[in-house]
């Protein structure tokens, strides 16, 4: 294993594996972008090329933006995701602070329950949540899209781990300086845990922007639909088998996430590893 030759071999092998897995993930996206700029005739041609013989992008993207209320879906997505992430932080940060830094009876039990909630897949809860939403009469509103996600066990867990690494002395100093427990959370803990907050925010926005399952159950009104659900409706009603505009719409939906991730990549990585190694 230690000879340079075998080391070179293992490096080649390693890169092969990385290339293949990377390709498996990337090729559908590349294909999507490629299809979104092709005319209908070229889409089902047996030979594959990235660039179309006839550039059809403008037509596809125009149809995607005009034939279905795609901007409306995107706005819905922005609103719902913003509300979710803001409310999640508003709920998770104080909860995580209490679990990390305060002493009260039943703390460990509560934390164990958070961990259990972390294991449960969200789909398991969709029927009870649907009935609950029906009972309080919020189905088919923005509230129905937002309320199941407001309490995030993952957020509580992530913030707690990060808050644990902040020394107690800082909290003691803040108490002596006259801060209340809630202002300690917002003025000291959250700013100090900013990398974790940003990483969590990205996680939350990505998963809820892409979420299809719950919106499918919760809303019927097209004016409330988030992007993935909207695309599905678009496919059924408008496009039929017209894949060009459909892929253009998909590209438009995915683009904001990719841009956001690339610009916040540094915090994202720092936030996820920050809590792991003290």
């Amino acid at each position: 294993m230690s000879t340079p030759h075998s080391q070179g071999l293992s490096a080649v092998l390693r890169h092969c594996v990385l290339l293949i897995t990377g390709a498996l993930i990337l090729i559908p996206f590349v294909w999507m972008v490629s299809l979104s700029i092709k005319p209908p005739g070229e889409i089902f041609r047996a030979s594959f090329s990235f660039w179309p013989q006839q550039f059809y992008g403008i037509e596809n993207y125009t149809r995607a933006l005009t034939e279905a209320p795609l901007p409306q879906y995107m706005l819905n997505g922005v609103f719902v995701c913003t509300m979710i992430v803001v409310l999640q932080i508003a709920v998770c940060a104080p909860a995580a602070y209490a679990l990390a830094k305060l002493d009260f009876p039943g703390k460990n039990l509560l934390f164990a329950m958070v961990l259990i909630a972390l294991i449960l897949p969200h789909e398991v809860l969709s029927l009870p949540l649907f009935i609950l939403g029906y009972q309080i009469g919020i189905l088919n509103t923005y509230a129905a899209l937002i309320f199941p996600y407001v309490v995030s066990p993952f957020g509580i867990f992530l913030f707690r781990q990060f808050f644990k690494t902040i020394p107690d002395d800082v909290i003691h100093a803040a108490r002596l300086d006259g801060l209340s427990e809630l202002s300690i959370v917002w003025k000291i803990m959250v700013p100090m845990a900013l990398p974790a907050i940003i990483a969590f925010g990205i996680f939350s926005v990505v998963s809820h922007w892409n979420s299809l399952f719950w919106p499918l159950i919760a809303v019927r009104d097209q004016s409330l639909m988030p992007p993935p659900l909207g695309i599905m409706a678009f496919k059924n009603e408008e496009a039929g088998n017209d894949y060009g505009p459909l892929m253009a719409a998909s590209t438009l939906v995915v683009a904001p996430l990719i841009i956001a991730f690339l610009s916040a990549q540094r915090w994202f990585v720092e936030g996820l590893t920050g809590g792991a190694v003290k």
Partner: protein, 391 residues
């Protein structure tokens, strides 16, 4: 006004007692040091004073007010932490201004953007800025106000931490080992600066440290703590010269005090290490004693005899002004350490036999359970006497 009275404070963590009935009075404007090894409960006591921890039993008063159950911010105390505990996301100016903002601005006025438009905010903020600027200049950190703690050196951070405590003009300063993260040279300098600060402010200081040189040089009085108990509270010199307890004598002083186990026989003589020391007073023969001899209590003599220890030189440490001579004395477990004048150095070589005399009045006597035995001149008797603690 800001005298502190601590009455029978007890504290346990999960049935483990950390403080046992600690009682202590601190006068207004006094500089009192809580001195003890790590884990003796001194920091816990300080945190109880600050209100950051709740005692299991007992009571604390600051000024004339019983403060049990009073929140830290209402106690009028400020604290400097060992880790400085600065807020890393705020500038030095923001760090120092925070305690004042919390006190002088209403919660509406503190709102991030709107606060500025609330009536009266600007005047208060300007006033706070002035106080922060003045304090920072007094501490020599006026040029650092725009920096964040991460960009400062250890000494500068320390000053910011002191500044944050100072701006509030608290009645009591609590300091929890504020110098232990600094390098040796800076520590000596900051020691003098804190002492000077105490003179200038004239308020009560309670200072926690495990470093005896800090305790001895800075304090009006030192309270020696061990295993959650207060062993002795006295002026630094008295703690050194006249310890109440064997543990205090052993903790204070460097090099450490020499402890020799002895047994008393007829004629007021205590036998130990191949020699005997004359003990005045009327302790019964057969009593087991411990003789404490400070290293500097020895002087060189020519020959062995009563009140003289004889042994072979094991090691000579040259300290510049002094000479630490380690002596193997037959009948003792540890080498005896003597502190001699450096000019004796040419006369002393390793392996050589040395005779060290001790004047009887410089012997510190301890009973078998570690309590101090003092000589009572009025009755010509050595009695076990624990001094009344100054309450």
């Amino acid at each position: 006004m800001s005298a502190i009275t601590i009455e029978k404070i007890e504290k346990s963590f999960c049935a483990t007692p950390v403080l046992r009935e600690v009682s202590l009075s601190i006068a207004d404007g006094e500089f009192l040091t809580l001195l003890g090894p790590s884990g003796c409960g001194k920091s816990t006591l300080l945190r109880i004073l600050a209100g950051l921890e709740v005692q299991t039993g007992g009571s604390v008063s600051i000024g004339d007010r019983v403060v049990d159950g009073v929140r830290p911010k209402r106690r009028d105390v400020a604290m400097v932490f060992q880790s400085y505990a600065l807020y890393p996301h705020m500038t030095v100016a923001q760090n120092m201004a925070l305690p004042l903002r919390m006190r002088r601005l209403s919660s509406w006025q503190r709102l991030p953007l709107l606060g500025r438009f609330m009536p009266g905010t600007n005047a208060v903020v300007e006033e706070i800025d002035k106080v922060v600027m003045r304090t920072a200049k007094a501490l020599g950190i006026g040029h650092l106000l725009a920096r964040k703690p991460g960009q400062l050196s250890g000494g500068q951070r320390q000053r910011v931490a002191v500044g944050r405590a100072m701006v509030r003009e608290p009645a009591v300063f609590l300091m929890d080992e504020p110098l232990s993260n600094l390098d040796a040279k800076l520590r000596v300098q900051m020691r003098a600066e804190i002492k000077e600060l105490h003179h200038r402010l004239g308020v009560t200081f309670v200072y926690v440290t495990h470093d005896q040189s800090e305790a001895m040089t800075m304090s009006d009085r030192v309270a020696v703590m061990l295993d959650g108990e207060l062993l002795q509270v006295a002026q630094p010199q008295e703690i050194y010269d006249d310890p109440d307890d064997r543990r205090v004598a052993e903790f204070i002083g460097s090099p450490k005090i020499n402890m020799l186990d002895a047994r008393l026989r007829e004629g007021g003589l205590a036998d130990t290490a191949g020699t005997s020391f004359s003990i005045a007073g009327n302790i019964g023969p057969g009593t087991a004693l411990t003789l404490g001899i400070r290293p500097e209590a020895f002087h060189l003599v020519d020959a062995g005899g009563r009140n003289v220890l004889t042994g072979a030189v094991r090691l000579v440490e040259h300290m510049g002004s002094d000479l630490y001579v380690h002596l193997d004395v037959p009948g003792t477990d540890h080498p005896v350490v003597a502190r001699l004048l450096a000019e004796r150095a040419p006369q002393i070589a390793t392996g050589q036999t040395l005779h060290l005399g001790v004047k009887p009045e410089r012997l510190l006597l301890f009973s078998a359970d570690g309590k101090r035995l003092r000589h009572d001149h009025h009755r010509n008797a050595t009695v076990l006497r624990i001094k009344e603690r100054v309450q």
